[in-house]
C-alpha cells in the first residue's frame, strides 16, 4: 500500500537548511497497523505527513521511491495529492481542539470531507455525518454535529476528528499523536476506538512518542531518531529484544522504574487543612487536607480540572483559600499578608511544567540561578549538581533544550535549600528518556538533602515511580490517599481504579 525508499525531507529556513528526515525506508501492507515511535524532532511526523504531501512549509521531499496506493507519488501534481488526501488516507492530529476548525461545527467539518470527495447532496452529507459520528460512538450524533469543537469534551472531540478522517472511507488512517493531549481515561477510550477500527480491517499508521500507547495496537514498530529509522521490528520482538540501545532506553523509560523510597519521614513541613477554593460559583477545591513531611515525596494525581494545580497554588501562597488553612513549618502561611510569608519564602520552592515561562527571558542562566542565592554566591555548584556544565551559565533559557531548562529550574529550586519543593507537572513536557533522567535527579535530591517534594502530575506512571505517598484528586476532592504501593496495587476508590485501568502500560513479555 505504501512503499518508501530513502525518503529525505529538508526544510529550507531563511538562513539554514534542516534535514528532518534523512533516508527512511519502510512499507505498509493493507490491514497492517504500523507505528512510528520517536521523541520530539525525530522526524516521525514529517515522515508520516510526507505520505500525503503535507510535509510542511518550505519542505523539500526527495525519495528513491515513494509509492502511495500503487502510484508513484514523486510525479504527483497538487491535484493528484488532493485526490489522495481524505480518499486514500485520512489524517488524525494530536488535539482536536485545534485540529478541527474551532469556528465551524463538527458536522460541517465531517461533511466537508464528503463534499470534497464527491457527495453533492447536502442532506446525504448530513445523514452520513451523523452515521459517522455514531460509528465512533458519539452519543446523540444529531445534536453533537451541530456543536462546535469547544463545546465537546476532549474525548468526543477526538472521536469527531477521527470520524472526519474516516468520512471518505480511506484505506489508510494516519493518526499522529492521537491521544497525547488527552487525560488517561479518555486516552484509553480513543485507543479502544482505534483498536476497534483495526479489528474492522482498517490499515493504520500510528505516530507517537509513547511506546506504551502504540504497543497495545501496532503490529510493527519503527523507531526513529534524528531523522533515521534506528530499528524496525514486530512489536513483540521489539519489546523483548531490542537491538538498538536507543530502543532499549525507550522501552525501559516506558516500562517505568520504581525509585527507592526515602528515609522515614521527618516532621511536618506543610500542613493544609480543609482547604476550599471557590471561583465565582464554582468550587474548584473542596475540603482538601494535605500534609507533607520532611524527606517525603507526596504524589498528587488527577486529571485536568481535578483541582490539583489550584491546590499547588494555595500551598505555595499564590492564591488565598476561600476557607481552610495552610501552615508551613508550623507557621501560618495562608490568610496572612505576603510580608509575613516572605521570611519563609526561600524554604518553599516551586518547579513548573514549562520552565521557559518561569524564567525571565532577558536573564542568563547565571542570573536566574543567582536570584535564588544570597548575594555573591556562585550558581555553578548547583548547576553541577543538576548535571549541567559551566558552559550554560551565560546562555539564555531559550537557547537550552527542554531537559536542560528543567534542570536549571531544579538548580534554582534547590539553591536556597528549601524544605519543600512543589513540582507541578515537572516532566510532562519532556521526552520520555529525559523524563527518566529528571525523575532520577529529583529522587537524588530528596535522598541527599532530605527535601520534601509535592509532586503533582496527571501521569500516574511517573507518580508511581517516584512518590512515597499518593493523593488522588477528582472534582476538587481527594478521593483516595495512602502509600503509593497501596494505592496503586489495591485501589480502594472506584475512580482510582478507573484511572489505573486507563493507563497504558508496557507489559514487557518475560
Amino acid at each position: 500500500m505504501i512503499r518508501v525508499e530513502d525518503l529525505r525531507v529538508t526544510f529550507q529556513l531563511p538562513r539554514r537548511t534542516v534535514d528532518a528526515v534523512r533516508g527512511v525506508s519502510f512499507e505498509i501492507e493493507p490491514g497492517e497497523c504500523v507505528a512510528i515511535v520517536g521523541e520530539s524532532g525525530s522526524g516521525k511526523s514529517v515522515t508520516a505527513r510526507s505520505l500525503v504531501g503535507l510535509a510542511g512549509p518550505g519542505a523539500r521531499v526527495d525519495a528513491v521511491r515513494l509509492e502511495v496506493d500503487g502510484q508513484d507519488a514523486r510525479r504527483f501534481a497538487p491535484r493528484d495529492w488532493r485526490r489522495l488526501r481524505g480518499g486514500f488516507a485520512g489524517l488524525v492530529l494530536q488535539d482536536a481542539l485545534v485540529s478541527l476548525d474551532p469556528l465551524r461545527t463538527v458536522g460541517a467539518e465531517i461533511s466537508e470531507v464528503l463534499r470534497v470527495h464527491g457527495e453533492r447532496s447536502r442532506s446525504a452529507r448530513t445523514r452520513q455525518a451523523h452515521r459517522l459520528l455514531e460509528e465512533v460512538h458519539v452519543p446523540e450524533p444529531q445534536r453533537r454535529a451541530g456543536q462546535y469543537p469547544h463545546q465537546l469534551s476532549g474525548g468526543l472531540r477526538q472521536r469527531a476528528l477521527i470520524a472526519s478522517a474516516l468520512a471518505a472511507a480511506p484505506k489508510l488512517l494516519i493518526a499522529d499523536e492521537p491521544t497525547t493531549a488527552l487525560d488517561a481515561t479518555v486516552q484509553a477510550q480513543i485507543l479502544r476506538l482505534l483498536a476497534e477500527r483495526r479489528a474492522a480491517g482498517q490499515t493504520l499508521l500510528l505516530i507517537s512518542h509513547d511506546l506504551a500507547v502504540v504497543a497495545q495496537l501496532a503490529d510493527r514498530v519503527l523507531v526513529m531518531k534524528d531523522g533515521r529509522i534506528v530499528e524496525s521490528a514486530p512489536t513483540k520482538a521489539l519489546l523483548t529484544g531490542a537491538v538498538h540501545t536507543y530502543t532499549r532506553t525507550l522501552v525501559e523509560a516506558a516500562a517505568g522504574r520504581r525509585r527507592a523510597t526515602g528515609p522515614a519521614p521527618g516532621p511536618v513541613v506543610v500542613e493544609a487543612t480543609a482547604l476550599r477554593k471557590v471561583y465565582g460559583d464554582r468550587a474548584v477545591v473542596r475540603d482538601v487536607d494535605v500534609t507533607v513531611r520532611r524527606g517525603e515525596i507526596v504524589g498528587l494525581v488527577g486529571e485536568s480540572g481535578s483541582g490539583k494545580t489550584t491546590v499547588a497554588q494555595l500551598l505555595f501562597g499564590l492564591a488565598e483559600p476561600t476557607s481552610g488553612q495552610v501552615r508551613f513549618e508550623g507557621q501560618r502561611f495562608s490568610g496572612v499578608p505576603e510580608r509575613a510569608r516572605r521570611p519563609l519564602r526561600r524554604r518553599l520552592q516551586f518547579i513548573a511544567q514549562d520552565p521557559l515561562s518561569a524564567f525571565d527571558p532577558r536573564w542568563t542562566v547565571r542570573r536566574i540561578v543567582a536570584e535564588a542565592l544570597p548575594r555573591g554566591a556562585s550558581p555553578a555548584p548547583f548547576l553541577e549538581r543538576v548535571g549541567l556544565g559551566e558552559d550554560v551559565l551565560d546562555r539564555y533559557p531559550r537557547q537550552l533544550s527542554g531537559g536542560q531548562r528543567q534542570r536549571v529550574a531544579i538548580a534554582r529550586a534547590i539553591a536556597p535549600r528549601p524544605s519543600l519543593i512543589i513540582c507541578d507537572e515537572p516532566v510532562s513536557a519532556l521526552d520520555v528518556s529525559v523524563q527518566a533522567q529528571v525523575l532520577d535527579l529529583l529522587a537524588e535530591i530528596r535522598e541527599q538533602d532530605g527535601t520534601a517534594l509535592l509532586f503533582i502530575s496527571h501521569d500516574l506512571g511517573v507518580v508511581r515511580d517516584l512518590a512515597d505517598r499518593v493523593l488522588v484528586m477528582h472534582d476538587g476532592r481527594v478521593v483516595e490517599q495512602g502509600p503509593a504501593s497501596a494505592v496503586f496495587d489495591r485501589p480502594a476508590h472506584e475512580y482510582t481504579r478507573e484511572l489505573l485501568a486507563a493507563v497504558p502500560t508496557l507489559e514487557v513479555p518475560a
Binding site: 500525503v52 488526501r85 485545534v98 478541527l100 476548525d101 469556528l103 470527495h117
Partner: protein, 299 residues
C-alpha cells in the same frame, strides 16, 4: 441577558459623559474666551461684547454653564452654533449623511479591496499595503483628483451628488484602510494556514483556495474585526482631510471650521458624536466577534 444590555448601555453613557466632560474641560482651557470666538475678526466694541454675553448667557459661572450643557445634552439639545447661528443638531444633522455615506463607501471599498488583495495577491499585499498606509491621505486624494477628475474627467471634482462624486473620496479614504486591513488579513491568513486545523483541512483533499476561504479567512477576520474600531477612527479622522481636499460637505468640514473658529457647541457635539460612534462600533465589534467566533458565545 438584560443586565448585560443594561451594563452595556450604562458603560456607553459613561463613555459619552466622559467624552463630553473631557472636551468641555479642554475647551475651557483654550486661550481666548468664547466672546472672542464669536466676535471673530469683525467689529469689536464693549457694547457688542455685552450683547454677545447676554445673548449666549456667558455671564454664568463655568460650572452652571457646564451643568446646563449636560442637562440640555441629555435632552438631545446640543445648543446653538456660535458661528452658524443654527441649532447644533441641525448643523451636525445636515452633515451627517454625506460623511456617513463617505465613511461607509470607503469602508466597503477598503474591506473589499483588502479581501481581494489578501486572498488573491498575498505576496503583493505587504508592499502595496505598506506604501498605501505610509502615504498622507491628502496626497493620494490630490493625485487621484488631478488624474481622474481634472485630466481624464471621469469623476466629478467634488460635492456630494450621486455615486460618481463618491468614488474618488471613497477610494482616497479607503486605500489606507485597505492597506492596513490587507496586511492584518494576510498575517491572519498566514497564521491560520499554519494552524493544525489547516493541515487537517488539507489532509481532507481540500484545495488550497478552499482551505483559505472556508477555514483560514474566518480566522483572519477576527483580528480584522478588531481593526474595525480603529478603522472607523481612521475613517472619521480621514473625512476631516478628505472632505477638505474634495470639497465635500460633511462633518469633517464642520469640525475643522468649528475648531478654527472655536465654535464650542459644535466642537462638543462632534466629540460627543464621535464618542457615540465609538460606543456603537464597539458594540458592533463585540457582536461581530460573537458571530464569527462561537467560542465566545455563552450557551
Amino acid at each position: 441577558m438584560i443586565t448585560a444590555i443594561l451594563r452595556r448601555a450604562g458603560a456607553g453613557l459613561l463613555v459619552l459623559w466622559a467624552a463630553a466632560t473631557a472636551a468641555y474641560l479642554a475647551l475651557l482651557a483654550a486661550p481666548g474666551d468664547t466672546v472672542d470666538a464669536i466676535v471673530g475678526d469683525g467689529a469689536d466694541t464693549p457694547g457688542i461684547r455685552a450683547q454677545i454675553i447676554q445673548e449666549w448667557h456667558l455671564d454664568r459661572s463655568a460650572v452652571v454653564q457646564y451643568l446646563d450643557f449636560l442637562l440640555r445634552a441629555a435632552h438631545g439639545d446640543l445648543g446653538r452654533s456660535y458661528l452658524l447661528q443654527r441649532p447644533v443638531s441641525a448643523v451636525i444633522g445636515s452633515q451627517l449623511a454625506p460623511t456617513l455615506k463617505l465613511a461607509v463607501a470607503a469602508a466597503v471599498f477598503g474591506v473589499v479591496l483588502a479581501l481581494l488583495f489578501a486572498v488573491t495577491a498575498r505576496r503583493l499585499t505587504s508592499t502595496a499595503g505598506l506604501i498605501l498606509v505610509s502615504t498622507p491621505p491628502f496626497l493620494i486624494g490630490i493625485i487621484l483628483l488631478s488624474i481622474f477628475s481634472f485630466r481624464l474627467g471621469w469623476f466629478p471634482v467634488s460635492g456630494d451628488r450621486g455615486f460618481a462624486a463618491l468614488v474618488l473620496p471613497a477610494i482616497t479614504l479607503g486605500l489606507p484602510i485597505a492597506g492596513t486591513l490587507a496586511q492584518v488579513l494576510r498575517d491572519g491568513l498566514d497564521r491560520a494556514l499554519d494552524e493544525p486545523f489547516a493541515v487537517t483541512a488539507r489532509a481532507r483533499g481540500l484545495r488550497e483556495s478552499g482551505v483559505l476561504i472556508r477555514h483560514a479567512l474566518k480566522h483572519a477576520l477576527l483580528p480584522a474585526v478588531t481593526m474595525l474600531g480603529w478603522s472607523f477612527g481612521v475613517l472619521i479622522g480621514g473625512t476631516v482631510i478628505v472632505e477638505q481636499v474634495f470639497g465635500r460637505p460633511g462633518l469633517g468640514q464642520v469640525t475643522v471650521q468649528a475648531v478654527n473658529s472655536s465654535d464650542l457647541p459644535v466642537v462638543l457635539a462632534v466629540v460627543i458624536l464621535a464618542a457615540a460612534v465609538f460606543v456603537v462600533i464597539n458594540t458592533v465589534t463585540d457582536l461581530a466577534y460573537l458571530l464569527i467566533d462561537p467560542r465566545l458565545r455563552r450557551s
